[in-house]
Amino acid sequence: MSLLRFEDVRQSYGAEEVLRGISFEMDRGDVEVVIGPSGSGKSTMLRCVNRLTEVDAGTIYLDGEAITTPDTDVNDLRRRVGMVFQDFNLFAHRTALGNVTLGLEEVLDYPREEARTEAMAQLERVGLADQADSYPAELSGGQKQRVGIARALAMDPELMLFDEPTSALDPELIGDVLAVMRDLAEEGMTMLCVTHEMGFARSAASTVSFLDGGQVVERGPPARLFESPANERTGEFLERLTSLHGGEQ
């Protein structure tokens, strides 16, 4: 059974229809990369999964269970679905360690010491154990994003959502974040990533979806989609993206 399934999901902001019937499914351990022009609904689609945005019609299933119903426990859903933000959103008043322990202590009810130990292990996992006592303002963008990943991983999620995790980073800092994401993918984490990092998509993604105008225009394995896009719009978009980024990474 698929871990995540979208069934004709629709969403509008006022008169503007952002998602126009999205349907797809991904299995446990899959890494799905979503690409598409700005305004195509990529972030909205992601935010529907943990109900930061509510869907207007259609259903999303997590592990076979509908999570877009009114009686879904959203706090528990969000515990099960980790999210990494484009602009990090680290808790500015807490150290790197404190960012990771908050959820452990307040959501999972870990005792203080155990939360600390677990949080240190998560920081170790993203290579930032030595920055445990630094505040967000004292970290570089790449370090902040890796703390953001550790914070989400600490909740032991079944699914991780990445919302353009490297878009706000200087080019030389992107590598560290992508390396952590690759490790995660290899460990078998199920990941739904909105990103335009073609190198990452090529090497780590099991499937790539091209979203345009609130619809999945084309979907397939990265090699197939990148080399011989079936849809005209996909081809155009990939061409522009390649010329913008100066080719492969």
Binding site: L52, R78, M83, F85, F91, A92, Y135, P136, A137, E138
Partner: protein, 330 residues
């Protein structure tokens, strides 16, 4: 430390270090305020512990003034030629002023205690009320937002003195407060003080909630989103993520409210609370030397206000976090 070095990440000690530097840079400030507070404390201890049996209105001063007064009289009667006599008169006047000031000190010290109690208790109790009020304004649904708005606007839109009169004379709160055990015993506040405390607390809560509300609005909305995204409930996310940041942003405005309250507390004299202003007025009425005694009282207020600012500046430095508003800003 060079500016360049301060911009480098990895120096969380900067904010705290600057407090120590500030202390060292203001020797004059401490040379004046240090003795003032030392004397106040000695005065209070003397009045409550060592000589409580003395009549409160006729406390003895620590520094006898008889010689000052005598010297003034001698100078005035010296019969010197015109310009010198004027100077001597001026000197004598100065001595009289100091003598009156010194004689007023024990009374003013007792009044200062009441002023401090009114201010400190009201600002803290007001804070306890202001936090939920402001959270209701910013994050509450209609059912929470509108009542909070109504209370805030009612309190901020009416004169504080009128509010005190309503509590004291209108509602006759005294008859209930009087029954509360402990009221007026020993150094505990008497009935009128308790009524004033209630009034100031409610009033200050309304103003503080406005400061905190605007501080909460300045916390980036992504912070609440990130808190919700790890599974925190809205209340928990506000408590653990938004408030710790918002309250830090609110400190400068909050310090302003503290400074106001020190001076507004003089309105309690209208409902018979014997605080600093009330005592000064009493002495003025007894001696008809209002200018002198009000001048001394004003110096007391200035000393209290400067002390409060210093304390808040210290607190702000202590709770500062790198990259987060106030003194931790980079």
């Amino acid at each position: 430390m060079s500016t360049e070095a301060a911009d480098e990440p990895g120096e969380p000690a900067t904010a705290r270090g600057s407090v120590g530097v500030e202390l060292g840079r203001r020797p004059l400030f401490y040379a004046v305020l240090g003795p003032f507070w030392a004397w106040l404390v000695v005065r209070w201890v003397h009045d409550w512990v060592l000589a409580p049996e003395l009549n409160v209105t006729a406390r003895e001063t620590f520094f006898p003034t008889a010689s000052l007064v005598a010297a003034g009289t001698t100078l005035r009667g010296a019969g010197a030629p015109a310009p010198v006599a004027g100077l001597l008169d001026w000197l004598a006047g100065g001595m009289d002023f100091v003598a009156l000031g010194v004689e007023a000190l024990p009374q003013l010290a007792a009044g200062a205690w009441a002023t401090i109690v009114l201010t400190v208790v009201s600002i803290l109790a007001g804070l306890v009320l202001a936090v939920p009020l402001s959270v209701a304004r910013v994050y509450g649904g209609r059912a929470a937002r509108y009542p909070a708005l109504a209370v805030t606007e009612l309190i901020r839109g009416t004169p504080l003195l009128a509010q005190l009169f309503v509590l004291y004379f209108g509602l006759g709160l005294t008859q209930y407060v009087r029954e509360v055990p402990g009221v007026g015993v020993a150094v505990l506040p008497d009935t009128a003080v308790v009524v004033a405390l209630i009034g100031f607390t409610i009033n200050s809560a309304a103003y503080q909630s406005e400061y905190i509300r605007s501080a909460l609005l300045s916390v980036d909305s992504g912070q609440l989103t990130a808190g919700r995204a790890i599974g925190l409930s809205k209340v928990d996310a506000i408590r653990h993520v938004v408030l710790p940041q918002g309250l830090r942003f609110a400190i400068p405005g909050w310090s302003n409210e503290l400074v106001y309250l020190i001076k507004y507390s003089s309105l309690a004299s209208f409902i018979t609370v014997r605080e600093l202003f009330f005592r000064a007025e009493e002495i003025g009425n007894a001696t008809y030397r209002f200018v002198e005694v009000y001048t001394v009282a004003a110096l007391f207020y200035i000393a209290l206000v400067i002390s409060a600012s210093a304390v808040m500046s210290y607190v702000e430095g202590r709770v500062a976090i790198p990259g987060l508003g106030g003194k931790g800003r980079r």
